[in-house]
């Protein structure tokens, strides 16, 4: 546990969850998805462009442009700007940055947007040049991209803690059940455990349905004061607690835990709730093993007991532990950095009772977890946030 005298995120509201429908491949640029997201934020909030004065932008595929260029592309003038290319933790970090800016008055309304395209070959170029370490020590081994890294981790986890393919499969099957009613999910067809186990191998022991499907899309939300949200009559949530951690446990030979293991007590103590009060959880589910590690590190079960946790819970929206309630990335697809926003927009919909798919009954507290950036042999960024239904 870390010593902390962090201020609360009082008076900060998060509102207007936006999803620009995902497509497997697109001939549009990331800027197109960003423009559609901004238009949807304005339409959803009733604000004019001049009503926004902050932008927080995430993308892997907008290059050579960053958040600065995006202001000119989108024709907006802001007095607060941040660029957060942190993959799966982009949403949590964007929320933390924007919340403080709004709380301190540096900005009144911040648009947080993650937009990525997926053209033929674009994923390979991201993978090939993802980092200097990746270029020197991962890509030349045929192992560029996350599949190989998570295969090595899954192999280690299964052997060390006795998890079975059937356990990960149960989690994937139940998440897919959640996706069935979600219009945003690219994969909505029911998945059976047999289909999961018989799917073609991708990187042993990972099979097809263990791996997120890269796609194009955007996710976005607005951060503003609660007063402003009320003036605009926007359903919104408040931020009870949020943490981030980068490069935790650098000396461990292989990553079996993330920064949540350092931050979980601070997260719940800042939020002022117990983990048993949480109504739904959105993990960063690029691979099932990573969801399990997040559940362990956040304290829902002990390290190594993830498989038992899966066996003793059901993860559908009406189950004992609603998890990844829109199907998660494993069903929705992974639209680049937007994958790091998905848990936030879905949580926001659940606690404001506006989910287009299956709704968790009377959802009040949502926990969102983010994870990202396999720079070499492990994901360096982890973060989490707890949202509460406002009012």
């Amino acid at each position: 546990m870390r010593d902390s005298d962090r201020k609360a995120y009082d008076e900060v509201a998060i509102a207007v969850p936006v999803t620009i429908p995902y497509v497997r491949h697109s001939t549009r640029g990331a800027h197109w998805f960003a423009a559609r997201a901004l238009a949807a934020l304005l339409e959803g909030s009733g604000l004019e462009k001049k009503g926004l004065d902050g932008l927080c932008f995430s993308s892997f595929t907008a290059g050579p442009d960053n958040a600065v260029a995006m202001t000119q592309h989108l024709g907006i003038t802001v007095r607060w700007l941040d660029h957060i290319p942190m993959g799966g933790v982009s949403g949590i970090v964007a929320l933390r940055r924007a919340a403080r800016a709004v709380q301190c008055g540096d900005a009144r309304v911040v648009a947080c947007i993650a937009a990525d395209t997926h053209t033929l070959g674009s994923f390979r170029s991201i993978v090939e040049d993802f980092s200097q370490f990746s270029r020197d020590a991962v890509y030349p081994y045929g192992a560029g991209g996350a599949n190989a890294s998570f295969a090595l981790l899954t192999d280690y986890y299964m052997r060390t803690y006795g998890a079975r393919a059937e356990d990960f499969g149960k989690m994937c099957v139940e998440q897919r059940e959640n996706a069935r009613h979600c219009p945003y999910a690219l994969l909505r067809k029911p998945l059976t455990i047999e289909e999961y186990l018989n799917a073609r191998p991708i990187a042993e022991p990972l099979r097809l349905f263990d791996c997120v499907m890269p796609c194009a899309g955007a996710e976005a939300f607005l951060v503003m004061t609660r007063r402003r949200a009320a003036e605009l009559h926007l359903p919104h949530a408040v931020v009870l607690g949020a943490t981030e951690c980068h490069n935790p446990f650098p000396d461990e030979p292989i990553q079996t835990r993330g920064g949540w293991a350092l931050d979980r007590d601070e997260l719940f103590s800042q939020a002022g709730i117990s983990r048993h009060s949480v109504d739904l959880v959105q993990t960063y589910d690029d691979y099932p093993v990573m969801s399990v590690i997040q559940l362990e590190d956040l304290g829902f079960c002990a390290k190594g007991e993830g498989a038992d946790f899966i066996r003793s819970h059901s993860f559908t929206t009406n189950g004992t532990f609603p998890l990844n309630t829109c199907g998660g990335q494993l069903s929705a697809g992974q639209a680049g950095t937007a994958g790091g926003f998905l848990g936030i927009t879905e949580s926001l919909r659940q606690v404001t009772n506006t989910a287009p798919g299956a709704q968790v009954e009377d959802a009040r507290f949502a926990l969102v977890s983010g994870f990202g950036m396999m720079v070499y042999d492990r994901g360096l960024c982890s973060g989490a946030a707890i949202l509460e239904r406002a009012g």
Binding site: R135, A137, Y141, P201
Partner: protein, 391 residues
Amino acid sequence: MDLFARRPVVCAAPSGRRSRVAQPMTAAAASGQFELQECSVCATVQYPPREACCRCLSDELVWKHQSGAGELLSRTALHHSHDPYFRSRVPWHVGLVRLDSGVSILAHLPADAPKPPARVWVEAHLDRKGAGVLVAFGRSDGAGLTEDPRLQEMCSDPGSANVFVTDGGSLHSQAVVRALAAAGAARIWVGFESAGDSFVVPQGLCDLPRVTCLRMDVTDEPCVGAVAASIAGEIDIMINTAAIAQSRGVDAARSEMEVHYFGLLNLARHFVSPLSERAIRTRRLCPAWVNVLCVSGLRGYPSWGTYGASMAAARSLSECLRVQLREAGVRVVNVYPGPLDDRRSEQHQVPKLGAPAFAQSIVEGLRAGVEEVFPGEVAQEWFHGHRGRQL
């Protein structure tokens, strides 16, 4: 011909891109050494390579020999890769190794590598692109490369290969032919200079199985072109042994340049294209072009005089060829013997290299997959005294 028939993907080499800080690993691997960065101040070993020590931030980093011993933590078989080279060679095996020095390494594995957790030994080798990569074996005898159906492409085992030795006129090159035959070469062509209309072949050489003798004079460009037209499309390994005896005087100096430098240039003009074209389809080994040079080509020895100057010219040309042929997945191997035990070296009062030992060092160099071979005591002395400053 069916234009739409499915053909195997032709991709001779993986991506060879590396950061500047990672280049020394390749330089060490080129002569069979496994070196990693060590901090001169706090002795931390680190990988992947960095600009500063990740513990004490000192920039006094030196590349030091590593034992390679470590533990295989996990492994995977990739059934997909974003890199076309690996994608056309799946399943490809990689593993995560914790070296005893405390760094985690992603390494290529032979298919028969042990199941983790297991002791392994990491070696540095050159991949098909000539870039340094790490390979972990379940044994420490250093002979694992030639036995794996995928990793054998990182070396040039003469077993089952078609080999051309450009000049069989010396006892040392005849020893090379015998060593190749003993190593199981499929076919061996040996060139001999003509004496009038015919050429003289030493007793017994053409009686060896699978050996064909032909007329070849590297200084005679039409002759080189004719030989290339008849056999170059079938060659896996070419060993240029053409050299003349050392003598004094300006005429001798011109002859040395004629054979060592212009001879190599003639070979380059006629053999680069056909060797490259064959190489792009070759997967059983890394096709190789071996140039037998001399340690006197690396620095000036007064006793070698102009001979060393001609070898330096040839070495420079050979290094140009190396860069050019890397793109096609052909390895250029430079062999730098010290004084050979023949007439050429009678005046040298140093240990001389016998023909069988010389020949064996070439075969071993091909099997080890190195780019630089230093046969004999004088060459080894030079190698250990000067490597890093001149190579």
